[in-house]
């Protein structure tokens, strides 16, 4: 009896430990996290077509891929970008740290501005690309595809700066399409018309603020909105209500992926392999090899990979090039092999589509130099078109063309047009 009474509290304590442990294990009880917008998205998800975006349950499509795409191009499309990795970098040395970590000159990025940038490891291989938001003189938000907290923290040693992951704390929405400006204006974001492309500003929302930038991943008129997670649903509702008569639609990634390809934009680990993910040595890419050479600023002082990039340029060790292709016909050349003179394999298509806007069969491809660089004639792609359980092999001529594949005046028009 004495034993039994003694044992009980021990068992209780053990039970408490176990339940505490179980409570801390949500990461594998919920294998795909929901974003702060999940209740709204779930309600609209007629196709139940999900994929895994950085651990989050994100929609490929919600109701119809085609119509979702056209919502971007003719109405206003609302896309949940909360799973995007977000870092808050703040402190007197934030600018210096980011100047050392990223390729572009951060001193030229004024407060309330955004730029597209990329960063490399010591060997000059691209770790990721992303957007850098300068929220104030000393506060930045870095958004990217992959996670980089250890890299950023190790980079921050010796700098007076605080680096924090805010992916979960901050919800994000992309509102893209010709009526997006009108939707925001009608939602009551006073002064939104003053935002030029790559500008950002704070607007009041629900007792707090929402940070809105005129940025996006579609090549269209559009905005990105960042808000504390607890204000996410009210922001969604505010936009949906004001956008009702302007054709606002929630969309999934398939539609966005088409729009970004028309805009000529790359996706890390789709169009190139990031340095920390690459297992094979020849998959690593320097900025010059994926069309990001323009970001490299040799005048700004030291930055990660500078030495290696300079050496590769000097010794002509750049082996690849990323190009836009226009391909004959109308069959998308997704993951097709690129040939020179129909015989020699010189590269691979990483993304392709028939572009309804450009009315062209377009693609992004990685080629082995000099092909795509100095040798651009006589390139072909071999498309395997499945036709009722039989491959029809199409050898189509490909032409290297400039990106973006479409240029929409409304993207940059000031003030933005009221559709």
């Amino acid at each position: 009896m004495a034993q039994a009474t003694r044992r009980k509290p021990v068992a209780k304590a053990a039970g408490a430990t176990v339940s505490a442990r179980i409570a801390a294990q949500s990461h594998f009880q919920t294998l795909r996290l929901g974003t702060p917008f999940q209740p709204r998205i779930d309600a609209l998800a007629k196709t139940q077509d999900w994929y895994n975006w950085a651990g989050y349950r994100a929609p490929h499509s919600l109701w119809d891929e085609e119509l979702e795409y056209f919502a971007i191009r003719s109405q206003a499309a609302l896309f949940d970008i909360s799973p995007m990795t977000k870092y808050r970098i703040e402190g007197p040395d934030a600018e210096a740290l980011l100047n050392r970590v990223t390729l572009r000159d951060v001193t030229k990025l004024r407060p309330s501005r955004v730029h597209y940038t990329a960063w490399c490891d010591d060997k000059g291989f691209v770790l990721d690309d992303g957007t850098l938001f300068r929220l104030s003189q000393t506060r930045f938000r870095l958004c990217s595809q992959e996670r980089h907290l250890p890299w950023l923290l190790d980079s921050a040693v010796g700098f007076d700066v605080k680096v924090e992951e805010e992916t979960e704390a901050v919800a994000g929405l992309a509102l893209q399409g010709p009526t997006s400006f009108a939707v925001l204006r009608d939602a009551g974001f006073a002064g939104i018309e003053r935002l030029r492309i790559f500008d950002l500003a704070d607007f009041p929302h629900g007792g707090g603020t929402v940070s809105i930038s005129r940025t996006g991943f579609t090549g269209d008129l559009g905005y990105e909105l960042f808000v504390p997670a607890d204000k996410a649903l009210s922001l969604w509702d505010r936009l949906m209500t004001s956008g009702e008569l302007r054709g606002i639609r929630a969309i999934g990634y398939t539609a966005l992926n088409r729009a970004r390809l028309e805009a000529g934009l790359m996706v890390a680990n789709a169009d190139f392999t990031t340095a920390e993910h690459a297992i094979r040595a020849d998959r690593l890419r320097m900025p010059d090899e994926i069309g990001l050479g323009f970001m490299i600023d040799l005048e700004k002082g030291h930055f990660n990979g500078r030495r290696a990039i300079l050496e590769a340029r000097a010794k002509r060790k750049l082996r690849h090039v990323l190009v836009g292709l226009e391909i004959d016909g109308n069959v998308p050349a997704e993951h097709a092999i690129v040939y020179h003179k129909k015989a020699q394999e010189v590269g691979l298509v990483s993304a392709a589509m028939w572009s309804p806007m450009a009315k062209r069969n377009i693609a992004i491809a990685s080629l082995a130099r000099p092909y795509g660089d100095t040798m651009v004639e006589d390139l072909w792609v071999e498309i395997y078109a499945m036709r009722e359980l039989q491959y029809q092999k199409l050898m189509k001529r490909a032409k290297v063309v400039a990106r973006p594949f479409i240029n929409l005046d409304r993207r940059t028009a000031n003030p933005p047009a009221d559709f």
């Binding site: 210096a96 050392r100 970590v101 490891d121 010591d122 060997k123 890299w151 190790d154 980079s155 040693v157 010796g158 700098f159 002082g301 030291h302 990660n304 990979g305 500078r306 030495r307 300079l310």
Partner: protein, 521 residues
């Protein structure tokens, strides 16, 4: 603002060797030493009125022959003959001492005849194997990314040397290479005193016990050194270690090297990824084409260059260099020479080692893993004033000892730990030389924390980075940058933190200078 061709930061022996070698190749060289005196941890200093001792390094056993030759040190008064070699004495509480005479025990006395013959075999084997590694000391580690013909050829020579061992010996070399020293000793020897001494030598200056994997490498490193052309030989330089540095300095100055003391460098100035000069503590700026840092690699990059000029991956590697020392230095001013029980007069002039068995050394190491002191520390003791009376007042004596294990990051802190450790050391000494405590006029104990402050050696580590397999050769100071050049163009490393490592060898300084000359850097 003044301009030089080359500035060497750090007037320790490696900095001076690098400077002298570069000056002999026709360069205009300036050495900047932060302290009031050059020599770093290889000085002779007065620690009590009339008593002088070598600062940290007190035995010369690895000054590289190429350094002696290149700097013509013999012409500058540094000459050693066989008669100068001092014995090693393995002390024991319960039996008479065992003495290794000549160069690391060419003759062994005090052991059984079977042990003598076992030692003869083991010694020959150890020297043979150390000899395979020896050529690596005096050249850059192989550059795995882009090996030159010369490098490939010299690696080939190592392969050939291995092959020359014969099949059985070669296999055995590879078998034992990464072994722990205790297991190897147990295979071949019986005598605890002998095994204790070898276990002590293998682990001296590293964060390893004799039963830690790879601890045998430390013994190879020790035996790859030579003095007066004889492998394994050791001497107590007349005038202390400062005399060795004085000879190097004389050679450097003869070659035209300019030396400035009390000139601490605050910053290495980098412009467009290239080192162009240094700024001193007082704000003075000195420009040069080549900057050679013969100080600690972590200090060089984390403090002097700073993270803004360096890639994150490289900084990560530098930050991860392990360099927490475990060795303390004891200087005792004694009013009369001590008498170690059972040790004859000649052996008193040698190296007296208190490490009675490998188990004893291992037990001394155990607490240090957890940031605690060895209650029964192991040590090597020298009485330099016996052979060089100038070091002590008439009739008095200097005792200089290197003692392990004194963990740099002592949990209780060194304020509390230092008196405790001194007591533990004195207890050990008292057991081997009864009455010594009463003859102490002054005791100076330098803990790793003291060594760090006094000699600007982070972690108080005389190798400027643990000398273990993962921080050797191509991984020293960090992988990818083991060849003395650095990611900052025009900046080179030349200190003990670089290959091959610490000890008064001059090898890092010489190798670095050779590299700079070869690169026309």
């Amino acid at each position: 603002m003044t301009s030089f061709e080359t500035i060497v930061i750090g007037g320790g022996h490696n900095g001076l060797v690098a400077a002298a070698t570069l000056a002999k190749a026709g360069r205009k060289v300036l050495v900047l030493e932060a302290g009031g005196e050059i020599g770093g941890a290889a000085r002779t200093e007065e620690f009590a009125p009339g008593f002088r001792a070598s600062s940290v390094a007190h035995l010369l056993n690895r000054l590289h022959p190429d350094v002696v030759k290149t700097l013509e040190l013999e012409r500058h008064g540094l000459q050693f003959a066989r008669a100068d070699f001092v014995p090693s004495v393995a002390l024991s509480k319960d039996s008479p001492p065992l003495v290794l005479h000549g160069a690391y025990g060419e003759v062994l006395t005090g052991a059984s005849s079977s042990e003598q013959s076992a030692w003869k075999d083991l010694r020959a084997q150890l020297l043979r194997y150390a000899g395979i590694l020896k050529p690596f000391l005096s050249r850059r580690p192989p550059d795995l990314a882009g090996m030159s013909l010369l490098e490939t050829a010299s690696l080939g020579q190592t392969a050939l040397a291995l092959k020359k061992l014969g099949k059985e010996d070669m296999r055995d070399f590879l078998r034992v290479l990464l072994m722990n020293v205790a297991d190897l000793l147990d295979e071949q020897l019986e005598d605890d005193r002998l095994k204790g001494l070898l276990a002590f030598d293998a682990t001296l200056g590293s964060h390893l016990g004799p039963r830690s994997p790879t601890s045998l490498l430390g013994l190879y490193y020790r035996l790859a050194g030579e003095t007066g052309g004889t492998a394994g030989a050791q001497v107590l330089p007349q005038g202390g270690m400062g005399a060795v540095v004085a000879a190097i300095r004389a050679s450097a100055e003869k070659a035209g090297v300019e030396i400035r003391t009390s000139a601490p460098v605050a910053k290495i100035i980098v412009e467009k990824s290239r080192a162009v000069g240094v700024a001193l503590d007082n704000g003075e700026v000195l420009r040069a084409n080549t900057i050679v840092s013969a100080i600690n690699p972590a200090t060089t990059f984390l403090d002097l260059v700073g993270p803004r000029e360096i890639d994150t991956g490289f900084m990560r590697k530098v930050k991860n260099i392990r360099m927490k020392g475990d060795a303390a230095k004891l200087n005792l001013a004694l009013d009369r020479p001590p008498q170690f029980t059972g040790v004859d007069a000649a052996s008193h002039k040698g190296r007296l080692v208190i490490a009675p068995s490998p188990d004893h050394v291992e037990r001394a190491f155990n607490p240090c893993k957890y940031g605690e002191l060895s209650p029964e520390p192991v040590m090597e003791v020298t009485l330099p004033s016996l052979a060089d009376p100038s070091l002590a007042p008439a009739g008095a004596c200097v005792l200089s000892a290197v003692v392990q294990y004194a963990p740099y990051a002592l949990k209780e802190g060194w304020d509390a730990g230092k008196p405790k450790f001194l007591r533990a050391i004195m207890e050990q000494l008292e057991a081997y030389t009864p009455g010594i405590g009463k003859s102490v006029v002054r005791a100076e104990l330098l803990t790793p924390a003291d060594i760090e402050t006094r000699y600007r050696m982070p972690g108080g580590h005389w190798h400027h980075g643990e000398l273990q397999a993962d921080q050797m050769l191509v991984s020293r100071p960090v992988s990818g940058w083991s060849g003395y050049d650095t990611p900052v163009e025009g900046l080179f490393l030349a200190g003990a933190g670089s290959h091959p490592g610490g000890g008064v060898s001059g090898a890092p300084g010489l190798n670095a200078a050779r590299r700079i000359i070869a690169m026309k850097g």
